[in-house]
Amino acid sequence: MSESRAVLEGPDIHRALTRIAHEILERTKGADEVVLLGIPTRGATLARRLGDRIERFEGVKIPVGSIDITMYRDDLRLRPARPLGRTELPPDGIDGKTVVLVDDVLYSGRTVRAALDALNDLGRPTAVQLATLVDRGHRELPIRADYVGKNLPTAKSEKVKVYLQEIDGRDAVLLMKEGGR
């Protein structure tokens, strides 16, 4: 019924995150005043991995947190109420910082729109950037990523599923044809 193919394996994800960590350091000139905020569930895990890498490369510990966007979604009324994820801000907050939002898959851009609204209620960052492991296209809003692990051309009927060691017991990105899940 559904056929799936791995587009990224563990080592690919590893390399993509390493590159993104370097890019963040480069663009923010040493990640000074940077806060990484992951969008649960897998975005939060990716944010932690990026934080670890940046610490390893430059010896700076940057604040990592998570931002749940469920209450800000624009499609809440299309489905029964969903459980909430965790919002956890670093102790120093996000005022005056450069926030890098981290998500696993960038698709319509609606999740990021919701995250921007949520950020607005949490503080006033100097700048907001976006990092994503996979950009699969089909944007419905004027949103783009600053850091992309892999640009993945997809059809709308396909699904992209990210597996991460911490949650799923393995690292992989799968592309699934036709409605499989």
Partner: protein, 306 residues
């Protein structure tokens, strides 16, 4: 989850845990500078209060407003109800105004259940007669879980006027669902006849139960419902069933004291016990807003089943 919240007994263990977990995340909203979420924008919540209540009504109102719902407060005093309007006609009026949820407090047990048959929106029971008060039980369970870590196997003692208490009934049902062991302690005159069918133990001796309790919940002596001689005197009640300093000292060191409020200091609970660090009475109020946000979100936040 069900479309209505009428009885704590209607909640499955998964439903109850979902509400508590949702509340746990929402508790963080109360700690930030902008304590508001856009989730229920455009939804209307009607607070329909046929019986006096300050804290429950304000708590529901704060919860709905923090989720950006529109709130209409309707109290029976000075309304069409005092002119003789029936519950059903009031319900139909609210329906015509487009209420997505009706939060009802009524002196008659079963009123929310009746109301649920007449309106399309969700009905939330905010206390009906001597029957149930499910959001109170949820906030109590939430307060216990936050203090004790979990509810499985915890021993909860509920002391006082069980007969007139909707809080006790809802708590027994919910805590049983969540795996806690409840013991009711009261004079025989203040226990309902059907109490042997409830999923809990019953005792008449507070001093025997106290040392084995993780939570001691004191109920208010409801003077407005004391229309018969349930006990000889307030002083005698207080001596046998009041939580004073000596009894408090005999509780396990990490046990907590709860009270749904409003309290009669010096009657069922001594002032210094109520104000001690092991009392959750003030927390319960804050947790009330949080748990009601969780309930309103789960009932109204998603697609509304028809």
């Amino acid at each position: 989850m069900n479309r209505h919240l009428i009885s704590a007994g209607d909640l499955s263990r998964d439903d109850a845990l979902l509400i508590l977990d949702t509340a746990e995340e929402l508790a963080r909203v109360s700690e930030r500078s902008i304590k508001k979420l856009p989730t229920l924008r455009g939804r209307t919540v009607v607070n329909l209060f046929f019986e006096d209540s300050t804290r429950t009504r304000i708590s529901f109102e704060a919860a709905a407003k923090r989720l950006s719902a529109d709130v209409i407060n309707f109290s029976a005093k000075g309304s069409s109800v005092s002119k003789g309007e029936s519950l059903k006609d009031t319900a139909l009026t609210l329906e015509a105004m487009g209420a997505d949820a009706v939060v009802i407090r009524h002196s008659a047990s079963g009123a929310p259940h009746r109301l649920a048959n007449w309106v399309h929106g969700s009905v939330v029971n905010a206390g009906d007669g001597t029957h149930e008060h499910p959001t109170q039980a949820l906030l109590d369970a939430f307060s216990m879980r936050r203090r004790l870590g979990g509810l499985d196997g915890r021993r909860v003692t509920v002391v006082g006027d069980v007969l007139h208490s909707r809080v006790a009934r809802s708590n027994v049902l919910l805590l049983h669902t969540l795996g806690a062991q409840v013991t009711l302690v009261a004079p025989p005159t203040l226990l309902p006849v059907s109490v042997d069918t409830w999923p809990c133990e019953v005792s008449y001796d507070l001093d025997a139960v106290l040392p084995k309790s993780d939570v001691v919940m004191m109920l208010r002596v409801q003077k407005e419902r004391m229309n018969a001689a349930f006990f000889p005197s307030e002083r005698e009640y207080s001596r046998r069933y009041g939580l004073d300093r000596d009894r408090f000292a005999r509780m396990p060191d990490d046990a907590i004291v709860m009270h749904p409020g409003p309290m009669n200091r010096g009657m069922e609970i001594a002032a210094e016990v109520a104000d001690s660090a092991r009392s959750t009475i003030v927390e319960q109020v804050a947790n009330g807003v949080t748990i009601r946000m969780a309930v309103l979100y789960l009932l109204l936040g998603g697609e509304i089943a028809q």
